[in-house]
């Protein structure tokens, strides 16, 4: 069996593992990202390339060490650098004497069967139906993960005993990873949600609500963003992520086929501030900041890797959004030199500011009601 690997991105390894093994391949999930992964990637990658590429390279090297022979990844057509990751990583790994094959899945140019032909080379015995079945299982898992994480982020700030939700989360991830049939997935999914709802909480009406947005990899991968969701949750802040893996796949793969103007809602929201497509998640970052202000969120945290071009354009625009719509925004830039303490300090300061602001607003409101 061909040993296939892929890069980590948050919990996406769970659906990927299912997808590949259902297709009769042997998935080699890279070991969890550690300092060693990052160091391995740094050695190979160019200095100013974005951080996700460096971590990906580290993932690949560690996966090759555990026997991977082929790398599956997605492509793109720019202007964001992600579209050229595959080419650059192939050159880098081959030069560093890692004889590994690359399968870069590009958006088909002529007909969608082009994509299947490409995959077919690796799974000669399978039919298109098998791919759909495999994709269905993977999709269900991805969807379950999204649902679970969404609810989890709302419960974590209220938990009575710190760490309970994280424990439930770890158990859920493991159970879902092991589930093999559609029925199992449904059961694990439902049981996970029930377990979350059963966690002892201390209800609190004045909990701070913030939106976490920015570049997809930085938002989704807890090992590079210093587990920002957990840290914020434990500080008693309700985090709403704007990027969920299943939804992102649904939008980029499915919606762009059947409804090409699905991005319009983002374009319209961002238009007064950023009226041009800049690649990556630039427009979404601005659009969700506007949305956060409209929906009375208390703050916005933007995550971006160092030298990320789309996020830099958004970052230049965000102060104006923040001023005009009166929503505090914190931009956190992360690369291999970022340290947990540094990020944590900034988060704490930001949350303090939000708390004070919230408290003052409430006090003003009460004063207004009392005095008319």
């Amino acid at each position: 069996m061909l040993k296939v690997t892929f890069a980590h991105m948050g919990n996406s390894y769970i659906p990927f593992r299912t997808l590949l093994s259902e297709l009769g391949l042997d998935p080699v999930v890279p070991p969890p990202i550690t300092r060693r992964t990052i160091t391995l990637g740094l050695k190979l990658a160019p200095e100013f390339v974005c951080f996700p590429l460096k971590v990906n390279l580290g993932n690949y090297v560690e996966a090759i060490e555990s026997g991977a022979e082929c790398i599956f990844m997605a492509g793109g057509v720019g202007p964001c650098r992600f579209g050229y990751y595959g080419e650059l990583q192939r050159e880098i790994l081959h030069q560093a004497n890692y004889p590994v094959e690359f399968l870069v899945l590009e958006a088909p140019k002529t007909h969608w069967t082009e994509l299947w032909d490409k995959i077919k080379r690796y799974v000669p015995k399978h039919r298109l139906v098998d791919l759909f079945n495999a994709a269905r299982l993977a999709w269900l898992k991805a969807k379950a993960l999204d649902d679970f994480d969404d609810l989890l982020n709302r419960i974590r700030p209220l938990e009575k005993w710190p760490g309970t939700t994280t424990k439930v989360q770890t158990a859920f991830y493991r159970a879902l990873d092991e589930a093999g049939m559609i029925r199992d997935i449904h059961i694990v999914h439902q049981r996970g949600l029930e377990e979350l709802r059963a966690i002892a909480i201390t209800p609190d009406d004045s909990v701070l609500r913030i939106i976490l947005l920015g570049e997809i990899y930085m938002v989704l991968e807890p090992q590079v963003n210093f587990q920002i969701e957990r840290v914020l949750g434990e500080m008693g802040v309700e985090v709403s992520r704007t990027i969920y893996f299943a939804r992102w796949v649904y939008e980029t793969l499915f919606l762009s086929l059947v409804k090409p103007d699905w991005r319009k809602k983002y374009d319209l929201l961002a238009k007064p501030y950023l009226s041009n497509f800049v690649g990556g998640h630039g427009i979404e970052t601005v659009a969700y900041t506007v949305k956060a202000a409209a929906n009375n969120y208390h703050g916005v945290i933007e995550l971006a890797p160092f030298t990320c071009m789309p996020e830099i354009v958004a970052m230049q625009v965000l102060p104006e959004v923040s001023r005009k719509l009166s929503i505090p925004v914190l931009s956190v830039i992360i690369d291999e030199h970022a340290a947990e303490a540094g990020v944590r300090t900034r988060l704490e300061a930001f949350i303090d500011l939000l708390k004070h602001r919230h408290w003052k607003n409430e006090a003003d409101k009460r004063h207004f009601i009392r005095t008319g």
Binding site: V49, P79, R81, L274, V313, Q316, V317
Partner: protein, 316 residues
């Protein structure tokens, strides 16, 4: 009406076209002064730290033009060729300058090129009509087919190369980088001047004959979707194989933390090393000092001279 053209970014490719167009329209054109410390500082002051230095310099040029012109042209170049962007920052340029310099908003004359219509003259026309500037009939206008004969980039190249004392120069260096890095003396701290003073001949990407365009980038497995990447890979291939001059070494001038150059530079470095040529990369930013550049350049030149003298192949 006075129209200001900032001497930054792709002015070095299209400056002559822009100037001619606006003059044909009966407008007076003012090109901002060459980048100096003052211009750079005024840009740095207002721009976001994360922006690259060429963008900050561009903003500095806009500020220089603001008091002396009625309108300032913002070239919003999304695409200048099919299937290739320039850079996300170019794509968001009008938004960038609008938010950095909110007071000058009404003075901006945005010329949007792409993503559908990539004909420079047609785009200039529609930008002019949007501002109520009359454009002359078609025949009078410059042809938009790429007449790079007298583009600012080549003019600068020729001035420096003409001042080289003919045969005495023995070394030729291939210069790689974006046009606004190679030709902006304020950005690269008079790099071309230093080269000519050391009697070193140089080739730049803009000197590539049209028949070699698309050759180097065509050798890639995947089509590159950045214009400035394509042009550099084309010219690298040309310099390595077909330029008719033996290129002794390569220097890559890049802005600090440039997103594209991180990828393109790495690919070029690999190709140059495979060809067995020495390679020097200079990252420039607002804190760069001339002395640092000179020291590294001198060391690089000594290396080239040594390789020239010693017939055996010196590893690089």
């Amino acid at each position: 009406m006075k129209i200001g053209i900032p001497r930054g970014l792709l002015y070095y490719w299209y400056g002559h076209l822009w100037e001619e167009f606006w003059q044909e329209c009966g407008c007076e054109t003012v090109v901002s002064a060459s980048t100096d410390h003052q211009i750079m500082l005024s840009g740095i002051k207002v721009a976001l730290d994360e922006l690259c230095l060429p963008m900050k310099i561009f903003i500095g040029h806009i500020k220089w033009l603001a008091p002396v012109t009625d309108l300032i042209m913002i070239p919003h170049l999304i695409k200048i060729e099919k299937d290739a962007y320039i850079c996300p920052k170019f794509m968001g340029l009008p938004d960038l300058v609008r938010h950095t310099l909110p007071a000058l908003r009404n003075q901006f004359l945005v010329v949007k090129v792409g993503p559908k219509n990539i004909d420079m003259i047609q785009c200039l026309r529609s930008a002019a009509s949007r501002k109520g500037i009359k454009t002359p009939s078609k025949n009078n206008l410059v042809d938009s087919s790429k007449q790079t004969g007298n583009s600012p980039a080549l003019t600068i190249c020729n001035t420096y190369r003409n001042s080289l004392p003919g045969n005495e120069s023995t070394l030729t260096i291939g210069l790689l980088g974006h046009p606004y890095c190679l030709y902006d003396a304020g950005f690269n701290l008079n790099f071309l001047q230093i080269l000519t003073e050391n009697q070193i001949n140089f080739l730049t990407p803009e000197m590539i004959p049209p028949e070699f365009q698309g050759v180097g980038s065509g050798k890639l497995n995947k089509k590159m979707f950045w214009t400035l990447g394509r042009s550099q890979l084309d010219s690298l291939d040309w310099m390595l194989r077909d330029s008719g001059v033996k290129v002794d070494g390569f220097i890559h001038l890049t802005p600090f933390a440039c997103g594209l150059e991180a990828i393109i530079g790495d690919m070029m470095e690999r190709r140059i090393k495979a060809a067995g040529k020495p390679f020097l990369r200079l990252n420039l930013e607002e804190h760069s000092g001339e002395a640092g550049i000179i020291t590294r350049l001198e060391a690089f030149i000594s290396l080239l001279q040594y390789r020239e003298r010693v017939p055996k192949k010196v590893p690089c």
